[in-house]
């Protein structure tokens, strides 16, 4: 993606202050914009629309037609970008996951003990989830077992978050913690977040911060 006409990073990242596809719609009629820009814009609109459709209708009733209609693009355009509905949702998952992990990394100061850095990271993650409930539910809820793209993307997110937590082992070099501890902690944290989102209580997520931090810190604490 190069050149001044490229869509902003926000426009490509579902959930980043997104107001829905309308916010990234192109001007009507002949606009003379570069083809690459147009394609990127349509791809971003389709990904945003797919997340909104899944949030509103659930995985069972989400359709490609609903995504196309919401994104205000043709089916032909859809198939130029994605091979199927799940390909589109999977791409949205990956982009959202990148953004979520980046949000956490940015909130985590590079200096200081891991246990001092963790609270800020948890706080930022929960604030992001509260601001972007549809995208947070996409990441935290269990995707359909039959959709390989989503299962793989979910596995990748778990691995990335677990890897971040694994830094905590440096605080207890003398203790051999179980190898899969971080995966268990990430699964539990995502489950807590998903439960709040499914209950329609996204706004209460930041309140979870101190307790979630404590639960994530406990295994790494001495004594």
């Amino acid at each position: 993606m190069t050149g001044p006409a490229a869509p902003s990073r926000e426009a490509q990242q579902p959930g980043k202050g997104a107001e829905g596809p309308a916010s990234t719609r192109l001007p009507a009629g002949r606009h003379g914009l570069p083809a690459e820009f147009v394609a990127q814009n349509q791809r971003a609109r389709l990904m945003i629309a797919s997340v909104e459709v899944v949030a509103e209708r659930g995985y069972t009733r989400a359709t490609m037609e609903a995504v196309v209609s919401r994104a205000k693009v043709s089916k032909r355009t859809f198939y130029q970008q994605f091979s199927s509905l799940w390909d589109c949702v999977g791409a949205a998952y990956t982009v959202t996951s990148d953004q979520f992990c980046e949000t956490i990394a940015q909130a985590c100061p590079r200096d200081g003990d891991w246990s001092e850095r963790l609270p800020g990271a948890v706080e930022a993650a929960l604030a992001w989830a509260a601001e972007n409930p549809n995208y947070a539910l996409l990441l935290s809820g269990e995707p359909p077992a039959t959709v390989e793209q989503l299962r793989a993307a979910r596995g990748e997110l778990t691995d990335r978050l677990a890897s971040m937590l694994r830094s905590g082992r440096s605080e207890r070099p003398d203790t051999a913690l179980p190898p899969g501890l971080e995966e268990r902690l990430v699964g539990a944290a995502l489950s807590l977040v998903a439960a709040r989102l499914m209950a329609g209580s996204a706004d209460t997520l930041p309140e979870l911060g101190p307790e979630l931090t404590e639960l994530l810190l406990r295994p790494y604490r001495r004594g």
Partner: protein, 236 residues
């Protein structure tokens, strides 16, 4: 040409002989039970989205009249099946834990073993109950939340064994139940239900730690791992 049957016999064969009420109720219940089980099996195998009522009927030898007498649609059948089976599973976990009372850690291990026995014996049903329910939503999802909370309350009975000053956060039990569920869902989604046995020592460590500290968690981890090694194919 065969002779025509006497009128009295024709009348008898045209009218179904009414079964005693109790027998009829039992038959209806049996049909309902089979329909629900097939719907869960099919959902676990192909996903709720692709699970067709007709396919479930073909498998259990039922017909559409029987189905629509019992359920308004596929969602209602799934919700009813989910409620029946999740209640059975939850009851068996709680009973397994209760048998080990008052030892909380032994109760937790017994409940996990009970869960894993079910998951490995009936993976398609488990996939429908634990994974697909989150996709179907609606009444089944509400039921799932209620069961999760009930299990979490049982887990939280660990507080009775620890001094008030050392009590972990209020959300600990939901955190633990969610962590166990995520682990089981991961194994089911990857079509490797037997993986749950490998995770047993880690799950014991994960669940015991927040309440009783790292030392106790490590002891449970080692005990579960040693039991798994001793018994060869798993920590049963």
């Amino acid at each position: 040409m065969p002779r025509e049957a006497p009128a009295a016999i024709k009348e008898l064969t045209a009218t179904p002989i009414p079964l005693p009420v109790a027998v009829e109720e039992a038959r209806v219940e049996l049909v309902r039970e089979r329909l629900m089980e097939e719907m869960l099996l099919l959902t676990g195998e192909v996903g709720f989205r692709d699970a067709a009522v007709q396919e479930a009927l073909d498998r259990c030898g039922g017909n559409t009249i029987q189905f629509y007498k019992q359920f308004a649609n596929k969602e209602e059948c799934f919700a009813a099946a989910h409620e029946t089976w999740i209640e059975r599973v939850a009851a068996s976990l709680l009973e397994a834990a209760e048998r080990e009372a008052p030892d909380w850690s032994r109760g937790l291990r017994a409940a996990l073993v009970e869960l894993f026995e079910f998951v490995t014996a009936r993976p398609a049903i488990a996939r429908a109950l634990l994974l697909e329910v989150q996709i179907v939503g609606g009444a089944a999802l509400d039921k799932r939340e209620a069961v999760m909370e009930r299990l979490a309350r049982a887990v939280d009975s660990a507080r009775e064994e620890i001094p008030a000053g050392q009590a972990p956060p209020q959300t600990t039990s939901m955190f633990i139940v969610g962590g166990v569920e995520a682990c089981v869902c991961g194994a089911l989604a990857g079509n490797r239900p037997e993986q749950v046995w490998e995770a047993l020592p880690e799950l014991m460590h994960f669940a015991v730690g927040p309440y009783f500290g790292e030392e106790a968690a490590r002891a449970e981890f080692d005990a579960a791992r040693e039991a798994a090694e001793r018994e060869g194919s798993g920590a049963r």
